[in-house]
Amino acid sequence: MSDQEKKIEIGDGAAIPDPEDKGLISAWWIALVGTVSLLIILPLLKPDPYARILSFVPDGILVTFKVTIASISLALVIGLLTGLGRLSKNRFINLIASLYVEIVRGVPLLVQLFYIYFALGRIVRVPDIVAAVIAMAFCYGAYMGEVFRAGIKSIDHGQTEASLSLGFNRRQTMAYVVLPQAWRTILPPVGNEFIALLKDTSLVSILAVADILRRGREYASESFNYFETYTMIALIYLLITLVLSRLIANMEHRLSHYERR
């Protein structure tokens, strides 16, 4: 394995299936088939409460997706800037970026969510969902920054030198040569972070954002079907992350085309 083929391993998302693994008997397939079966069979066998839960929760799925996609987009931008900042030779920029990462890493996400939510509320009135997105992105931006930093660092310095020697400046070198290659190394951990973020959006349910978990809690507290509700919620989250992890694996496979002989 050459230096460029090193993978960054950050494992708090979900297992990304190996795209080369075409076997039907894989953990991914078993989990998927099991999840889908339960999601179909339970409501059929016992429409009350399972079918009712299923009709109550979907509004929340949309909210969860909205929060996830908005947060990850913002986190990617913050992450790229943070990663570049952490690699910057400018002491001041480097310090700011490092400080940000240190702070975010040291404070639990739930505490950050509360903090940003209420701190933001003192300055401006923004909708709850926007506050939630900002808080999530602020936290994940720091992790994303580390991913970008590692990804950029994993690219052989010879690539940069070749680019500079042709007359490209540092910014062009980053844009045309380093980042397009780093992206391939970065994608698996970014995919991982994406899935981790999706799961962590369940925390925003405490901020009056009506995501999957919030909708579920609302239903459960009315009907007292706690066990059944949380079963369905767990299955819905599982289905989403299983599908996402497969999509990411396929994307990763496509991006690696130039590494295949």
């Binding site: 010879g158 020697s165 042709l166 007359g167």
Partner: protein, 246 residues
Amino acid sequence: MNAADPIIKIRHINKYFGSFKALDDVSLDVAVGEKVVVLGPSGSGKSTLLRTINRLETISSGSIIVDGHDLYDPDEDINRIRMELGMVFQNFNLFRHKTVLENLTLAPIKLKKMDRGMAEEMAYELLDKVGIRDRANHYPIQLSGGQQQRVAIARALAMEPKIMLFDEPTSALDPEMIGEVLEVMITLAREGMTMVVVTHEMGFAREVADQVVFMDGGAIVEEASPDSFFDHPVHARTRLFLDQIL
């Protein structure tokens, strides 16, 4: 600048890596069309010297003037100067995410604003020249080392540089591939390209060089024509070096 002026003027440069002195008061002139081959044991500073010429390596003191541009004049644009200086690396350093053709066209399109059609036409001509046209749409990893290095030479030539710098271009190659790369370099030399070549290929030095420079301990020990360098080396260290490798 008149025609007799050297295109590269290196004056009393020193370079430190921490407390280690990598270059020790080095001065060197390269005339237009001249081929200079730099020899020396590993760690002698020859690659470092080559890399100072396009400022991939900065110097601690002294001056370097390339085609009339002072590399350390803050008013000069180093990126513009680098366009005049093609560089070939030991490890090829082809852009791994680009096809052979894209490796050649990227810089002309982005830096010279050449249109894609023209850039590709020129790229194909260069690939013909290095004998590798049929691999235009392959990725670097799909090529042999010798092929990659020939593409790397073509990539540098695509910017139509006035000077070509070669940093041990055959050192990472399997022996059977060295010939094909040297052949391309010899053709280039015959066409009148100004070349500075760091290498261990003595045959190439003898055949192509106008001037052989021998370095040891960060300093230039001996400068001579290839014939007198190989047949009548003056310095003891040069003789020792030649004894060891010939």
